[in-house]
């Protein structure tokens, strides 16, 4: 079995590729090969010895699906890929659209549908939650400069100003909204999302949906240390049935097919959980799940192969992950080969 994985950018804004690969390789009896699909010759995962068997550059999503398919076909001829696990948000639409072509080549995937991806979009999440009685911060979509006046009428400050794909800022006043609005508009376009600010603590769940409404597993985590980029640098598994129940509910309602991460805020004021985001892939902290007893990446592979997986029902509470910064030393030859030939 040869599994291709993306997201080897184990930087201070880490992709989930390396934790996914570590999880796969720690299964008992895993004898498969791993192909790393990379965008940059300096992705740290390339230089982690004994983790990935071979590497290939792939084109950025912005260069079009034809280029990506052509590159995948080339890699497939050389390495016979059995399964691709894309782990980055920006790749998902492309890989979902390529699924029929990949299938023809004999390459499996286990991805959400376009409809599922759209439901959890930042511009659609509010409606989905309201329709399913899930607490969600109030939000409005700003489609033009003229819509900005709605903010002061409908919200108390602070508010969260979010781009349609990435980035979010907290604005303490209307005057503070404007620069964030302009920045996000020029970077990601319309709509800009204005969201009620919920003061509280952030909680996360990693889960796996079997595509038929069933939850194969779900692990809840509280971040213990957050970087200035807002990334969890340490976290601990917790026992919070409300979060796990909400994960089951969301997966059932969407019939989610793939891994996902749910981001919640527990309001200091009401003590209730509010769903902030559904990220449509396994998160960068997913390696905590197998260590706590739920190897969700390994289960995803089994589901991709059409196997039945007995759902996980428990996990170890109090398991901690702590990220680290660790210099990898390599010879220039590897970097040179990858930079010039695009493969190793």
């Amino acid at each position: 079995m040869n599994i291709a994985v993306t997201g080897l950018n184990a930087t201070d804004n880490p992709g989930p590729g390396i934790p996914v690969i570590r999880s796969l390789k720690e299964q008992r009896k895993f004898t498969g090969k791993i192909t790393g699909l990379i965008y940059d010759s300096l992705e740290p995962g390339i230089y982690m010895d004994d983790l990935v068997d071979n590497y290939y550059h792939i084109p950025y999503p912005s260069s079009g699906l034809d280029n990506l398919m052509e590159r995948i076909s080339y890699i497939h001829k050389k390495k016979k890929l059995d399964l691709i696990i894309p782990t980055l948000d920006s790749e998902l639409y492309g890989f979902v659209k390529l699924q029929p072509k990949l299938k023809k080549l004999g390459i499996r995937t286990f991805l959400p549908t376009l409809e599922q991806l759209n439901i959890r979009g930042k511009d659609k999440l509010f409606d989905f939650c309201k329709a399913n009685n899930i607490n969600v911060p109030k939000n409005i979509l700003i489609q033009s400069q003229n819509d900005l006046e709605k903010i002061e009428k409908q919200f108390k400050f602070p508010v969260v100003v979010k781009g349609i794909f990435y980035e979010a800022y907290i604005a303490q006043s209307f005057e503070e909204v404007l620069p964030y609005f302009n920045k996000l508009k020029s970077k990601w376009g319309y709509p800009i999302i204005i969201q009620e600010y919920i003061k509280g603590d952030e909680f996360n769940v990693v889960a796996l949906g079997d595509g038929e409404g069933g939850t194969t597993g779900a692990v809840a985590m509280r971040k213990l240390y957050i970087t200035d980029k807002g990334k969890g640098w340490a976290g601990i598994t917790i026992k919070e049935n409300t979060l796990i129940d909400m994960a089951h509910q969301i997966i059932e309602k969407t019939e989610w097919c793939s891994g996902l991460e749910l981001e919640f805020m527990k309001s200091k004021e009401t003590g209730e959980f509010y769903l902030l985001e559904i990220n449509p892939r396994l998160p960068a902290w997913v390696y905590l799940a197998p260590q706590a007893g739920q190897n969700l990446p390994a289960a995803l592979v089994k589901l991709a192969y059409g196997k039945k997986v007995k759902p996980f029902t428990t996990y170890e509470i109090g398991k901690i992950f702590v990220r680290c910064s660790w210099d990898l030393i390599t010879d220039i030859k590897k970097f040179e080969t990858i930079a010039t030939l695009g493969e190793w």
Partner: protein, 84 residues
């Protein structure tokens, strides 16, 4: 007399390390604090807790009352106990 109930899912180790399994929060308490929490876990009332503390630690009764109230307030602030 007011009594308090410790939050469910609060694990207390012998070293005085508290782990709230629902929130992931952790705390460290000293020997006296650990003893009070263990007694609260056993649903002991305030008078019984005072009696145990006076037996185990060298402390003036007046000071114990003040320190106990301070400690209980801290536990309340961290939502680790609720009044029953």
């Amino acid at each position: 007399m007011t009594n308090y109930l410790l939050q469910e899912n609060l694990a207390v180790s012998d070293s005085g390390f508290l782990f709230h399994a629902s929130t992931g929060e952790t705390f460290t308490v000293n020997e006296t604090g650990k003893t009070i929490i263990k007694l609260l876990q056993q649903k002991k009332e305030k008078e019984e807790i005072f009696s145990e503390i006076e037996k185990e630690f060298d402390i003036e009764a007046g000071l114990l009352e003040k320190d106990y109230d301070d400690f209980i307030n801290q536990l309340k602030n961290f939502s680790l106990i609720e009044r029953i």
